[in-house]
């Protein structure tokens, strides 16, 4: 099973990484975006999937990564060092913030994590002297033609995605992953069985933040310009968990499958029904919540979409809870 998952992932990585060989610039651009979102989704899965804490902090970590990367690069650090700073800085930030907010459970945690995005955007917008405020920041651009730069960033984003995936496989098979799943199912029982739940949740939260920071730093270097609205994007912070739910929450491959299918679907709608593009996010959310509690991988696991759909529909008609995984 694990070998199958890794093979599927490897084939997908090859497909993304080889886009410059067979696709135009537009396709390469799409591949970079997919790799970026895959990393965000894999990251979210540590806290939202394994530990079952529904986080909306993705954009906070991504945005903070953008700014740490941009500022350290402007201060003269080489690009790769700037990205490492973004990773470490965001990880430490998440650890400190986690100490406070991981005492909250369920809805309270979700709202607090969403609040973090808004607060950081406000703070960054109003610290003009350091961050350029609402006017944004220029980041030193890469030398070379657009094709060359696109290839570099494709390699970088896919590389980060592979690392994040490898870490999630390690976590999945370790005591850490086991403990997080216990917390997801019954936190009090997890505590009684000997799991230091606070420490485990903080580790999961830090893991969910670090790679968002790396990706943010890389994104800032890629686009060459960031501003608070772009960096702390409220849509991104909702899209990421939706992608995980679409693919299958708490599984290693789910976030990858979810982000790929979501973005490809979005592309399709962009090109065919431009006006309705925003509506698809809403539609996907509704469909998953009502009819696909296990995500796409839940279907692949052999329960069958029809059976799952019919069961959910039946419950819905009876007025009971619909999405019971």
């Amino acid at each position: 099973m694990m070998r199958l998952r890794c093979s599927v992932f490897a084939v997908w990585i090859l497909a993304l990484a080889s886009t410059p060989l067979w696709g135009d610039n537009y396709i390469v651009h799409l591949a970079i975006t997919i790799a970026m979102y895959s990393t965000l989704a894999i990251s979210w899965n540590f806290i939202g999937g394994f530990a079952g804490y529904p986080s909306f902090a993705t954009s906070a970590f991504f945005g903070l990564g953008c700014y740490v990367g941009a500022l350290t690069q402007r201060a003269g650090l080489p690009v790769s060092a700037a990205w490492l700073c973004a990773t470490a800085g965001v990880g430490i930030f998440a650890g400190l913030f986690g100490l406070i907010i991981l005492r909250l459970r369920g809805h309270y945690f979700a709202i607090a994590s969403f609040g973090l995005v808004e607060v950081l955007r406000l703070v960054i917008s109003s610290s003009d002297s350091l961050t350029g405020g609402g006017d944004g920041l220029n980041v030193p651009l890469f030398h070379g033609g657009p094709d060359f730069v696109a290839r570099i960033f494709l390699a970088v984003m896919v590389g980060i995605m592979v690392i994040a995936f490898a870490v999630s496989i390690l976590v999945d098979r370790s005591r850490l992953g086991f403990g997080l799943r216990c917390i997801e199912q019954n936190e009090d029982a997890a505590d009684m069985v000997g799991i230091d739940t606070t420490r485990y949740k903080i580790v999961a939260f830090v893991l969910s933040a670090m790679f968002c920071g790396t990706v943010g730093g890389a994104y800032a270097s890629w686009t060459g310009y960031i501003d608070p609205t772009d960096a702390f994007d409220a849509i991104m912070t909702i899209k990421t968990p939706v992608m995980c739910m679409l693919g299958g929450v708490g599984t290693v491959l789910g976030p990858v499958a979810g982000s790929a299918s979501f973005l490809l679907l979005e592309e399709f709608f962009w090109s065919h029904f431009l006006a309705y593009n925003r509506a698809i996010l809403g539609a996907v959310i509704v469909i998953i919540i009502f009819f696909l509690p296990g995500g796409l991988l839940g279907i692949a696991d052999g329960k069958g979409p029809r059976a799952s759909f019919r069961r959910s529909l039946g419950r819905w008609l009876k007025g009971g809870p619909v999405a019971v995984p």
Binding site: R175, F178, C182, N186, V193, G194, T197
Partner: protein, 254 residues
């Protein structure tokens, strides 16, 4: 005999409710001690204080010579104090095997168990508790009796020094109770010290070597099980004073 756990003047109040009042006792290594008392006497609260689920308002809990009054539940589990819940607490969407693995992976003193070793330990405990046939079923699908057994298996996988069973027999039929009785006896034979919270006198009389009686948060009596069952204060606690007098008069008159 050396004491494994010792309570010194433990009290616990919830707002105005004094759930435990100045409770002191010791349990020796290897003993099976019964804890009885009517509903609301504070039995579950006592177990909660001993495992760090709720903090004591006053007093001390000493486990293996160390003051553990302020411990958190996961620390209690790692020291070797395990307990089952009156209201069972499984990981519902994990399999029975995985539930027991959780106990083996994280509980128990001074051990670093990896996932594979935990699976071996869990399988042993499932054999021991006669749950092996259900190993791959989701825990949420078990019957009440099955879930109580699972709680036991999970606690045993923690390889505890002290095991506290909070009404493991409540809701079971008499065949299931007999199986549970045999199981508790087997656990004790492995050298585990047991604190048994129980309503059924039959269970207490056949298992416990000593009985503690809790009434309105106070430890009103302790001693030999047969003596306790016939003790006036105990009968009072259970039946009320008037009935107790009548019961006693009937007993001596006959």
């Amino acid at each position: 005999m050396t004491a494994i756990i010792e309570l010194n003047g433990v009290s616990k109040s919830f707002g105005g409710i004094r759930a435990l009042r100045d409770v002191s006792f010791t349990i020796d290594q290897g003993e099976i001690v019964g804890l009885i008392g009517p509903n609301g006497a504070g039995k579950t609260t006592l177990v909660n204080v001993m495992t760090g689920v709720t903090g004591a308002t006053a007093g001390q809990v000493i486990f293996c010579g160390a003051n553990v009054t302020a411990q958190r539940p996961y620390q209690a589990a790692r020291r070797g104090i395990a307990r089952t819940f009156q209201v069972v607490q499984p990981f519902p969407r994990m399999t029975v095997l995985e539930n027991v693995m959780a106990g083996a992976l994280f509980g128990g003193a001074d051990r670093e168990v990896n996932v594979r070793r935990a699976a071996d330990i869990a399988r042993e405990q499932l054999e021991f508790t006669e749950l092996a046939a259900l190993a791959d079923k989701p825990a949420g699908s078990l019957t009440i009796a099955g879930r109580k057994r699972l709680e036991l298996a999970k606690s045993l996988a923690m390889q505890p020094k002290l095991l506290m069973l909070d009404e493991v027999n409540a809701g079971l039929n008499s065949t299931e109770i007999d199986r549970a009785l045999a199981l508790v006896r087997k656990i004790s034979e492995r050298g585990v010290t047991i604190l048994l919270i129980e309503h059924l006198m039959k269970v207490i009389l056949s298992l416990a070597q000593r009985v503690l009686v809790l009434h309105q948060g106070e430890l009103v009596a302790q001693g030999d099980p047969v003596a306790m069952v016939n003790d006036r204060r105990v009968i009072e606690a259970y039946l009320g004073e008037k009935f107790a007098r009548r019961y006693q008069e009937g007993a001596t008159g006959a």
